[in-house]
Amino acid sequence: MAVCIAVIAKENYPLYIRSVPTQGELKFHYTVHTSLDVVEEKISGVGKALADQRELYLGLLYPTEDYKVYGYMTNSKVKFVIVVDSSNTSLRDNEIRSMFRKLHNSFTDVMCNPFYNPGDPIQSKAFDSIVSTMMVQAF
């Protein structure tokens, strides 16, 4: 289960960030922000070698001592970042992928909302509840 989930706009500013309230929110913002370095590097590499591949999952971006940061990028270059606790070793790659897929589906629904202006912060109850299901439940 994630400790932080973020949606980042094409221009790299946050559209949505939610983290577990127990640990410093700011720290997660920094973690997500710094992970964009790796995302940029990865997508610049993908552009060259694997242009035809439609793989949206970017895999493990970087491991820190306490967290693992995973990335995903939609075709419109919107990025999803999921941060999980390093101690959570039971979480498999497949599960991370399915979390991203769920997130992507919900994000697509947000985008389909005619009242949502792409590029604005996401304020959707439906999206919120999907994110909630993927977050570590606060005690």
Binding site: P14, Y30, H33, T34, D37, E41
Partner: protein, 988 residues
């Protein structure tokens, strides 16, 4: 203990090399010996064998060898590894002692010298009693030796010497000091190296042989010690593969040790040492992934081994050092050619080291904040009889103690207190900053700009904690713009808050104002009450008062800051600041626009400035000024506060110069453009808004181009994309997003009130003087002065048309080439209201085709705009496209008097010249006259009179006439002759 207590010992970090001692060399007074020593120790490049040489006197005392233990049965080890052991084998106990002795084979005093040499060898041997160190003898000879086997005396005396010294033949060497010294030395050292390897091989076997005597209950520490020693000896032997094997075993053994609070530090210290060795060797073997895996394992195993809770900072200090050392190893390997990647580079380890250093600082803060009365305990529990520890990682007050409980709880308490007091004096911030700056350098190299910024923020915050506000502010200010351009407001707000504290504590007025303006505005995510507090402080600063201190600041620093701020009040001057808004997101937004993209000179130019504030409380400004590209207009676009009282704290919402949060205010300016600006563009170069008072302190917000700060362009884009229907706002209120930008306008001339009519009958006929009547009628209310007509071929058409078109005012004669294609500025005088002028013009077109003619009427008229009298220049253009066609075609033929067609004419025989004129003009053409002018070769028989004179030809009608001619005789038979010219005068 110094802060360096966590540093790894240098003997651990160096690359172990075989130790060979050289004796019998007098390197100070003997030039030959000096040369030999230099040859050994200089130029030790990688291709030479790894030996560390040392010159020692012949009677040097080597460390005593303890008597060999015959049984381990009653032996209980006191620790894992003695602190002196590594140094002993690197620098004190040689693998080989080489005795240099000057002796030639044919020395006259051979016998005496031989026995002297034997004595010297004996002295060395005695000193090395009990050690397996080898001894070798090198004879320094003056003569070049003969090839082996040829010098019988030599081989005989060599074996005698070996016998006397109890040496094997392999340990006796000859060194002739001739030309090839270095070559001999290299051969010698290779031989020494072999001896040294044998020595270390035997040492490894010796240590290994202890194993059978050990039992697992009492000798656990020895298992680790022996494996470590074997690893170290293998390294000395340059057998790094086996060294790695031994170290790995040692590593797993060290974690099998029974760990408790009293020996935790010793276990971690040794684990750290062994881990360091393993990682180092893995990098050396070019298997960096193994090194990383080992390090990860090491950290995972040790992370939770905190040990004594009262000394928790020791654990974090140790953890920090582990990461730092690994980072150093990694970085060193990169310098030797290893390639690192973005997600796996030394920066991560330095970053983590910094993180643990921060933890350490925090724990130290919690654990070491004793009452002021608590001093350093006496006697010093950290003092040891030798000044150093016997074993690595033990407590000075209970060395060698290996049972679970401390032997003396009072001593333990004192010891812990001593360590805590020491820790209090550690400059944690310095350590943290050094590590962070290492990490920054790495992340810069591996293309991680955001990580770099993040670390720089941490550095800045650490400087802030260390009270170095100048450096803190420098770093924070440097990275701020990255977060601003990437629109990470949460992070920007946090950085700005720290920066605001720094600028407050330093009494930096401009920075304080700048950061406050941004923290109060829309880019800040601070809660409303914080914004409100900051805004109130900002207003105080603008009134030249001392602001309230920022929360959570160091009380001593606050005191200093308050006096700094009060000094600022009395300081005259330096109280005006300009902030270039495009670099920030301040709490006031501005958009300036011209009402229209162009204005006629006889109407006032209108300019609107929209201003909006996002702060929690209404704010008053004292000046709003617009700068335009023509600065003469600036005076008309200025709004100044007339009242000069200092009442900016109580803004009344009705006032014109008060900005109410969230409401857009519009300020209208108008001015009359100067007549010389007709045809020019006027641009808004900037809009300035003054907050504060000239009498106290004020700041100018300057919007270059009249709008926009660091966040505006994105907001404008989002607003333009939005499908949201604008909510209807009550009267007088504006939706900010709907205000568009028009930052420049054109000044264009006044609309002419005049009519220009052209009367003519197209098409024009070639060569005709085509008449065009221009009628100009004034519809002005006042007199139109100085009317000037420019008429003719419109410039910019085919160049040939200029040659074939002429225009004139005089229709009575046909134009020639001297007439221009365009008649400029024909003065027509003044024109009273309603009056008209009729002006005929004649155009002479030499060629057919269409051409565009231009009739440009310019005049000036007086007008009054906004009570100002100006003279406006007006002009009106009329153009017309004129077709030119051929009026008629002329054909001629020769016929006989019987009207028969003639191919040729004969001398003296009369013939007829027939002329046919076929009209092609749409208009009737009147032939005024026609005339034949004959050449000399032809004569007319009767009077050649025009027969078509006065005939009018309708379209496609034909007129013909004939002339009776003959040719006078010619000189030479047949020839071609000219007939003459035929002229037709015509008009339409």
């Amino acid at each position: 203990m110094s802060p360096a207590q966590w540093d790894l010992p240098p003997e651990l970090c160096c690359r172990p090399m075989a130790f060979v001692a050289l004796t019998g060399l007098d390197v100070v007074y003997n030039a030959i010996h000096r040369a030999i020593w230099d040859a050994f120790c200089t130029n030790r490049r990688a291709d030479r064998v790894p030996i560390s040489f040392k010159v020692l006197p012949g009677d040097h005392e080597y460390p005593k060898c303890r008597t060999k233990r015959t049984s381990y049965e009653w032996y209980i080890p006191k620790g894992i590894l003695k602190t002196g052991w590594m140094n002993k084998h690197l620098n004190l106990v040689p693998a080989l002692v080489v005795l240099f002795y000057e002796l030639d084979w044919d020395d006259p005093q051979w016998k005496e010298k031989q026995s002297e040499c034997a004595t010297k060898v004996e002295i060395v041997r005695t000193s090395l009693q009990g050690r397996n160190t080898k001894v070798a003898v090198v004879l320094i000879q003056k003569k070049t030796p003969l090839p082996p086997g040829e010098d019988l005396v030599a081989s005989e005396r060599a074996s005698a010497l070996c016998g006397a010294c109890d040496l094997s033949g392999k340990s006796l060497f000859v060194l002739p000091h001739t030309d090839h010294l270095v070559g001999y030395i290299i051969r010698l050292e290779n031989a020494f190296y072999e001896h040294a390897q044998t020595y270390y091989y035997n040492e490894i076997r010796r240590v290994k042989s202890h194993k059978e005597f050990l039992n697992k209950t009492t000798h656990q520490l020895l298992f680790v010690r022996h494996q470590f020693k074997m690893g170290f000896f293998s390294e000395l032997k340059q057998d790094t593969q086996n060294a790695l094997k031994y170290y790995r075993t040692a590593y797993s053994l060290v974690h099998e040790l029974r760990a408790h609070e009293t020996n935790m530090l010793e276990i971690k210290t040794m684990a750290g040492f062994i881990n360091y060795k393993i990682c180092r060797l893995c990098f050396q073997h070019n298997t960096p992934l193994d090194a990383i895996a080992q390090f990860r394992k090491h950290i995972d195993l040790c992370k939770k081994k905190i040990g004594s809770a009262e000394l928790a900072f020791e654990h974090t200090a140790w953890m920090s050092k582990q990461f730092q050392s690994f980072g150093d190893l990694f970085d060193e390997a990169i310098k030797l050619g290893l390639t690192a990647i973005q997600t796996q580079n030394p920066g991560f380890y330095y970053q983590q080291a910094a993180y643990y250093a921060q933890e350490r600082k925090q724990q130290a803060g919690q654990l070491c904040s004793h009452e002021p009365g608590v001093g350093y305990p006496a006697p010093d529990p950290l003092e040891t009889p030798t000044g150093a520890l016997d074993f690595y990682g033990q407590r000075p007050w209970r060395q060698g103690h290996q049972s679970i409980d401390p032997p003396d709880s009072e001593k333990e308490k004192q010891g812990i207190l001593a360590l805590q007091v020491k820790e209090r004096d550690v400059l944690h911030s310095e350590l943290i900053i050094a590590l962070l700056s290492n990490a920054v350098a790495q992340f810069k190299k591996y293309k991680c700009p955001r990580m770099k910024s993040h670390l720089m923020v941490q550095m800045g915050e650490e400087y802030y904690h260390a009270k170095d506000y100048t450096k803190a502010l420098k770093l924070l200010d440097y990275v701020m713009c990255d977060y601003r351009t990437e629109r990470w407001w949460s992070l920007l707000t946090s950085i700005l808050s720290t920066a605001l504290k720094c600028s407050y504590l330093m009494g930096q007025v401009k920075d304080y104002i700048t950061y406050s303006m941004e923290l109060v505005g829309r880019a800040s995510i601070l809660p409303e009450e914080q914004k409100s507090r900051i805004e109130k402080n900002l207003i105080k600063v603008l009134m030249n008062e001392v602001p309230e201190p920022e929360p959570d600041c160091d009380p001593a620093s606050v005191k200093m800051a308050q006096s700094l701020w009060s000094d600022r009040i009395s300081l005259a001057g330096n109280n005006e600041f300009t902030i270039e808004v495009q670099d920030y997101v301040p709490f006031v937004q501005c958009k300036a626009k011209f009402l229209y993209p162009s204005f006629h000179i006889d109407e006032p130019v209108q300019l609107h400035v929209y201003v909006r504030a996002d702060c929690p409380h209404p704010v008053r400004f004292s000046k709003l000024c617009v700068s335009l590209s023509n600065q003469e207009y600036n005076q008309y676009c200025l709004l100044e506060d007339a009242s000069k009282e200092q009442d900016i704290l109580e803004p009344s919402t009705q006032e014109n110069m008060c900005l109410v949060p969230g409401k857009t205010r519009k300020y209208c300016f108008k001015f009359v453009a100067k007549t010389e600006d007709v045809g020019k563009k006027i641009e808004i170069t900037s809009v300035g808004l003054m907050l504060g008072r000239e009498t106290a302190r004020y700041v100018y917000l300057n919007w270059r181009g009249g709008w926009g700060d660091a966040a505006s362009s994105h907001e404008t884009l989002q607003a333009s994309r939005s499908f949201k229907r604008r909510t209807r706002l009550p009267e007088q209120q504006l939706d900010w997003d709907t205000v568009t930008i028009q930052s420049s306008t054109m000044i264009i001339s006044r609309v002419p009130k005049i009519s220009v009519q052209l009367t003519h009958e197209p098409p024009a006929l070639t060569n005709e003087m085509y008449c065009m009547i221009v009628t100009i009628q004034s519809e002005e209310d006042t007199v139109a002065k100085d009317i000037k007509l420019t008429a003719g071929l419109k410039p910019g058409q085919d160049a040939n048309l200029t040659q074939s078109t002429q225009i004139t005012l005089n229709g009575s004669e046909v134009c020639d080439d001297s007439h221009p294609a365009l008649l400029p500025d024909i003065p027509l005088g003044d024109l009273q209201p309603g009056q008209k002028i009729v002006k005929p013009l004649y155009i002479h077109c030499v060629s057919t085709g269409s051409r565009i003619l231009l009739f440009h009427v310019a005049y000036s008229v007086s007008a009054t705009v906004e009570g100002k009298d100006i003279t406006c220049k007006c002009h009106k253009d009329e153009t017309v496209t004129l077709e030119t066609v051929v009026p008629f075609e002329v054909a001629m033929k020769f016929v006989s008097s019987k009207f028969e067609h003639l191919e040729r004419v004969f001398v003296d025989i009369p013939f007829l010249l027939m002329m046919d004129i076929l009209s092609a003009s749409p208009w009737p053409i009147e032939l005024v006259n026609s005339e034949v002018q004959l050449a000399s070769s032809m004569t007319a028989i009767d009077q050649p009179q025009s027969q078509v004179e006065g005939v009018t030809l309708q379209t496609s009608e034909c007129a013909s006439e004939c002339f009776l001619l003959k040719c006078p005789p010619v000189q030479n038979g047949t020839s071609t002759v000219a007939s003459g010219h035929y002229f037709i005068s015509w008009k339409r």
